[in-house]
Assembly symmetry: C2
Homo-oligomer: 447 residues x 2
């Protein structure tokens, strides 16, 4: 039984219950009469206190067991209702598998995030990263669970594509060592699985992808990675309104379940960032604000002196500072902005009757800005072709995509969640490089 | 409510229950008094029969609704206990959203798998691919569920690495358009997430990855893809025996649950491949056979005339024909082969005392050959370094990996499941290109 299972099923704990913990030493203190080891087994941020008494201290050479060592301890649980953790382990046997070398970089003393980013293979052995990665795991599974319980089909959109994505030059190329077109054509790492997901929504109705996406992003910000994970649901017979409702319900469900299932990790993260739980609870209990892009522009104009980019006008792409200000200062919570100008959005979005805007939405959250981007898709074959021609996008490579409109098309809508941004939002960490085990950014590959 | 939910909760169906189906037309037959449309909503391979009577046939222009059209039908359920499906829908209203153009390639008549492979964006609208992808989805979720229920942490191993994998020349390279080392060094698409998973097992104890992996595989076989998904669990405090037990239990659990939860799809697949369910049930109810590599060699020698490669000797790498023969003819079921010669296995595997073999296992299954490959990992820093030097693998780029042995190492074991091979095994399809929505192989990228 893991420590997490023990903590979760407290009622099963009885005085003297046999228990064995396999894990790593977090601390070792005491005197020559009684010593306390705290052990973490990786299942929770909480540790188990192990008590060692009498001659065992010397026999087992306890004083020399250092932080980080791998260890197996058998013993009996002792109830301690008055303590922070209502049980501890009285050790009967102890085996140190591997003591750590002296240069083990994770020590009791505080270390900076910058320093920890240099050792991504070890940083999860701190309380902070242990908590972040446990929450990341919870969010992963809760997202799958949500979609499966709601009748969605998980599909694998291809990673390697012949499509260079939405923008120019931001795509990574793939080839074999000979650089002789292994795929007989230029091949790219996908920036989205959406187009392929649309083809599966036409037939399976409700589908979602959950996989890595790539961008040759050269800007070094705290919100961008060259390799990140995306969740992209796509649903036939859904319009923009339906898909915003879905996004809101999905987020609220996975966040609520994560808070409920991982109270110790959320408590720890809240101790590092005291507004975290309040902010999340507020989101859970409030109706999502939906604002029209044109109204957002009018609002932002009133605050233009707060921005570096003070030229606010209909047709502009909102900068990160505008998105954050809107969510943090004006709405004071998550906000879905809808009906963006078509010229700043992708060709496949549903064209509104005004001929100026498209049925897109971005979900903006405090502290991060854009968390989700989505839209209803254009249903008309002719409108799509015209839009592609206007934007000088060759239609031939996407003929298969256009054809979906001719073969039993139903209105289709979907969105993409930047998974690491969701991890940031729920854990309260402020740099996206701390939301993924081994971050990849321009100019470096660590480990 | 989806059709799948309706079928699964049969007890909720009452005569006259209001029901709306949104989906695609599978067939349209009848006469001018009564017509039958069968509709599929993507949630199951089963279709709903819709009955249209009297003047509605003409008013709604039923005769012109063709296969593949998207449609919304409201009506009342009518119980038909004597029929194959115990209910049908009597239509009250019907709306065709999009009739298909005449060149829609999915027609009632049989089409070949080769032909369908040319249209990966449409082939899921056949019974076969609908079933395969629904089973693929079930296996995906059951695997996550199994690991989560057993205390594993899902982690994202990086896709882009500085490590060119286990073999030479089989790795795909990544760069940006300028081909000027976007990552300031040669960057590869990962062939395994194992080394990174090992670093997370040291701390989280039980972890697993589920993501795409890549190989510049030039052989055109029915069992290889350039892009495929892998599941790689890694567990600290586990040895080879533990991890074989885990692999067996994982496979049996996810297959059993998939058969139970998707009876209609498995029934359809069994109709295409009549031994399928028998084979799977036999696996579920039998203890996994475990054989030592050296004994396998002795066995295969007896049958050497059955092989193209007749030279069977200790030290050889088993060819696919040997693996299949062993599983199909000798064991007649899945078999774990253990203790392979170290020279045909990777540097990180635990070296046995005989100095000749390593604690590796391959799980071989009938029809496919290798489904899983795994091992206990070498625990000794010095042995690892020596082995790398013998194999001329530079130690410097993997110093971080070696260091795991110095920082509280616990015996660690793990394996990788080729996910598409598992899909083949459970669905009975014989070409791996039919186990993934958009297959990627050397020389072509379709869609």
């Amino acid at each position: 039984m893991t420590l997490k299972q023990l903590i979760t099923n407290k009622e099963e704990i009885k005085e003297n219950l046999d228990y064995q913990i396999e894990g790593w030493v977090i601390s070792n203190r005491g005197n020559d009469k009684v010593r306390f080891l705290t052990i973490n087994d990786g299942s929770t941020v909480s540790n188990l206190q192990v008590v060692i008494k009498g001659e065992n201290i010397q026999n087992w050479n306890i004083e020399n067991i250092s932080l980080g060592s791998s260890i197996i301890i058998k013993g009996n649980l002792h109830l301690t209702p008055e303590a922070k953790q209502p049980f501890e382990l009285l050790a009967c046997s102890l085996e140190v598998l591997n003591n750590v070398d002296l240069d083990f970089p994770i020590q009791k003393k505080e270390t900076t995030l910058d320093f920890l980013r240099e050792i991504p293979h070890l940083r999860h052995r701190t309380n902070l990263f242990r908590s972040v990665m446990i929450i990341r795991n919870s969010l992963t599974f809760e997202i799958h669970k949500y979609f499966q319980e709601n009748g969605f089909l998980n599909m694998a959109s291809p990673i390697i594509t012949s499509n260079d994505g939405e923008g120019a030059g931001e795509t990574l190329l793939v080839d074999d060592e000979s650089k002789d077109f292994f795929f007989k054509q230029k091949a790219f790492l996908g920036v989205t699985g959406q187009l392929h997901a649309e083809s599966y929504a036409a037939g399976f109705k409700k589908v979602y992808t959950f996989g890595p996406t790539f961008r040759a992003e050269n800007s070094h910000t705290s919100r961008h990675l060259a390799e990140f994970w995306m969740i992209e649901p796509e649903i036939a017979f859904y319009d923009l309104k339906d898909v915003i409702t879905l996004a809101d319900d999905l987020l609220k469900t996975v966040i609520k379940n994560t808070i409920n299932n991982y109270p110790d990790e959320m408590k720890y993260l809240n101790s590092q960032n005291p507004n975290l739980l309040d902010t999340l609870e507020k989101f859970l209990h409030n109706k999502l604000t939906v604002l029209d892009y044109k109204d957002v522009i009018e609002q932002l104009k009133k605050y233009k002196d707060n921005f570096e980019e003070k030229n606010i006008f209909f047709g502009m792409d909102l900068a990160s500072e505008h998105e954050k200000f809107l969510a943090e200062k004006i709405v004071k919570g998550p906000v879905a902005v809808i009906n963006y100008p078509k010229d700043i959005k992708a060709f496949y979005m549903y064209q509104n009757e005004d001929n100026k805007t498209v049925r897109a939405f971005d979900l903006l959250v405090p502290g991060i800005g854009e968390l989700i981007g989505g839209s209803q898709r254009e249903a008309s074959y002719d409108k799509l072709v015209k839009r592609m021609k206007d934007l000088k996008i060759p239609t031939e490579p996407l003929q298969w995509y256009l054809d979906l409109r001719r073969f039993g098309y139903a209105p289709s809508s979907g969105f993409g969640i930047g998974f690491e941004r969701l991890v940031m939002y729920v854990t309260g960490i402020s740099n996206i490089r701390d939301a993924i085990p081994f971050p990849r950014v321009a100019g470096q590959i660590k480990m």
